[in-house]
């Protein structure tokens, strides 16, 4: 595993994501349980942010909300200054496919598609011409180091290889934001380190904002900013939020 190099995207600084008083509650029986309580958060283009916290602290809920695959009970998620809470399901789907890449803990590859087809899928949704799709897929598979596995199905790949495919899929549509939920949880430490190295490299080379949710302390070492979430609270500058500069 390599340590963070300290090189970051040169256009770092433009505000991409903001949340305002983000609250999410769930009904458990007759009781209302808070998963997030009035979270204010901001991320700039080119950031590499690691959010950590114990299980059940609200990390994944927060990630789901900023990925606009879930809606907050109250508060707002703004992407490039545009509020998302009033947008339709269709508008949110378009937002996801054009601006957000997702990496899941369990990889979530489409089992019937090969590695290259999984990576190609977001481009199909964007109706990118076939030749351009093939070129971009080949290039990205090369970047993540699995060119020789392009025709294999997910079931024929190791955990690390699957996560590389998932990373390539998340990046193929050139999103401005990539959200990763426990990307190393199902990998051994060596493979996990390699995956994080790759994510960091892509952050540096593509100026993509990475927000990684994890409870793995090793992952935090890759962060430019480290944010801690606890009992659904996350406040910039507060004691339970640790904002560090890794370099």
């Amino acid at each position: 595993m390599v340590q963070a190099t300290g090189r970051f995207c040169h256009i770092h600084g433009e505000r991409f994501l903001e949340t305002e008083d983000l609250t999410k509650t769930y009904k458990v029986g007759t009781q209302e349980v808070y998963a997030l309580r009035g979270v204010r958060f901001a991320a700039d283009q080119g950031d590499f942010i690691v959010i950590n916290g114990p299980s059940g602290s609200g990390k994944t809920t927060f990630l789901n909300l900023i990925a606009v695959i879930d809606r907050p009970t109250s508060g707002e998620v703004k992407i490039e200054g545009v509020a998302t809470s009033q947008q339709s399901e269709r508008q949110l789907a378009i937002l996801r496919k054009t601006k957000i890449g997702l990496i899941f803990q369990s990889f979530n590859l489409i089992p019937v598609l090969s590695a290259s087809e999984n990576v190609e899928y977001p481009l199909l949704l964007l109706q990118v011409p076939k030749r351009e799709r093939r070129e971009r897929v080949a290039q990205l598979l090369g970047e993540v180091g699995i060119s020789d596995l392009a025709t294999r199905r997910p079931s024929e790949l190791s955990g690390g290889q699957r996560q590389r495919v998932a990373i390539a899929r998340a990046l193929i549509s050139a999103p401005k934001l990539v959200l990763a939920d426990e990307p190393t949880a199902n990998l051994d430490s060596e493979t996990g380190g390699a995956v994080m190295d790759l994510m960091r490299k892509l952050n540096e080379e593509h100026c993509v904002t990475f927000i990684v949710v994890t409870h793995d302390p090793a992952v935090s070492s890759y962060a430019r900013r480290r944010v801690r979430i606890h009992d659904g609270t996350l406040r910039e500058g507060a004691t339970d939020v640790v904002v560090d500069t890794a370099s």
């Binding site: 695959i69 899941f104 489409i110 977001p122």
Partner: protein, 403 residues
């Protein structure tokens, strides 16, 4: 993408896909077989009915509606000539002849039987019933007091070819008239009732017996049975335009038995097809609901990647379109094969009221296949609607949580 991803999903779940195809195919094959059998039976009865009535018959509405007095409905020789002239101009016209039907009493020895007499122009080439004759011969142009009777009637009266019988009828003036007839032939027909009641005599001799020059109908043969309805319309219009007070009726209108049986066949096929479709609908609904439920996480992933609800619906519904197309096509193939085997075996059956067994057969062809194919296709696609809509409406977050 919208076609090959669903196809691959089906390939991945081959066992389930095969089960679905088998269910759809079985339903289609059953529908095809039943429809083929119904169409074959209908064609047999159609053939027999046309053999009895020809394609069209033209007569006075008084005859058709059983109104008027005595023989008022008879067609005069002048009108018959005008009608024939009109008929010959029709594109579907093949030939025509004149008939006179009346009721009479047939006596042989000390036995008497009420009969329906059909007086025909012998050797008319349109409807002379010669090919039905099994003993003796059919009527010829030189016959005078000759009669051809049915096998059942001959047996009942204990008469044979060469015997003399007496036919009594009422003349157009209302008087009784009787004449001896020599039996020159005995015919067989598919209906025992027809055989036991109908006898054939030469038209000229019947006119002499009834003391008339008229006929009660003109029987028309057309080039094709399918021309019946349009030809009837054209001829009806032409008769009306010529101020001739006669009305054409088609073979199916003349045979209440055919109409009833045809309705019965339609109901039978409709019910069976509905039952099979409902069965296919619920089985496929169950299979697809389970199949899509197992792929909840995959649906969540697709949605999270930016696939819209409409696109998810399209992906999953397209799987059903593949299933429906392959299943229905396989069913048509299986049904055709089953039909070929059935036809080759050549099972015979004697329907009630008939005199000879008929060979059961299944009509096989494109037109017979279209309805079962379409019905299975529609039933499958309808059954796929609900699970596909459900799949597209799943919550992304909840779907991703499913293991």
């Amino acid at each position: 993408m919208w076609w090959w991803i669903p196809l691959r999903s089906l390939w991945r779940n081959r066992r389930r896909a095969l089960l679905s195809v088998a269910v759809i195919g079985l339903g289609t094959a059953i529908s095809l077989f039943v429809l083929g059998f119904v169409e074959s039976s209908r064609a047999l009865i159609q053939q027999s009915t046309v053999q009895e009535y020809a394609n069209l018959q033209i007569a006075s509405p008084d005859l058709w509606n059983d109104t008027g007095q005595g023989y008022e409905y008879l067609i005069s020789p002048d009108d018959a000539a005008r009608i024939t002239a009109i008929l010959t101009t029709d594109s579907a016209y093949s030939g025509s002849t004149q008939e006179l039907q009346f009721a009479g009493l047939l006596a042989a020895g000390n036995q008497t039987q009420v009969v329906n007499v059909t007086a025909i122009a012998p050797e008319n080439g349109v409807l002379d019933f010669r090919d039905l004759v099994t003993d003796g011969r059919g009527l010829t142009a030189s016959d005078a007091a000759s009669v051809v009777i049915g096998r059942s009637l001959a047996d009942r009266l204990s008469v044979a070819v060469g015997d003399v019988v007496t036919l009594t009828a009422t003349t157009v003036a209302g008087a009784y008239n009787a004449s001896p007839f020599r039996i020159v032939g005995i015919y067989r027909f598919t209906s025992e009732q027809f055989e036991g009641q109908v006898l054939f005599v030469p038209l000229a001799f019947a006119q002499a017996l009834l003391d008339t020059q008229g006929v009660d109908r003109i029987v028309v043969a057309l080039s094709r049975i399918g021309e019946t309805a349009p030809a009837k319309r054209r001829i009806g219009d032409a008769l009306a335009a010529a101020a001739l007070p006669y009305e054409p009726r088609s073979w199916d209108e003349l045979s209440p038995f055919y109409r009833q049986l045809s309705s019965y066949f339609d109901a039978l096929f409709g019910f069976l097809t509905l039952a099979v479709s409902v069965l296919v609908f619920f089985i496929i609904l169950q299979v697809l609901t389970l199949a899509f439920l197992e792929r909840t996480r995959e649906i969540g992933t697709l949605r999270a990647l930016g696939t819209t609800r409409g696109e998810v619906f399209r992906l999953f519904f397209t799987e059903s379109v593949w299933l429906a197309l392959v299943g229905s096509a396989a069913g048509i193939g299986a049904g055709l094969l089953l039909g070929l085997v059935f036809n080759a075996v050549g099972i015979e059956w004697q329907p009630p009221g008939t005199i000879e067994p008929v060979k059961l057969a299944v009509t096989l062809g494109i037109t017979t296949a279209i309805v079962p194919f379409c019905v299975s296709l529609v039933a499958t696609l309808l059954s796929a609607l609900y699970p596909s809509i459900q799949a597209s409406r799943l919550s992304v977050v909840d779907s991703l949580r499913v293991d």
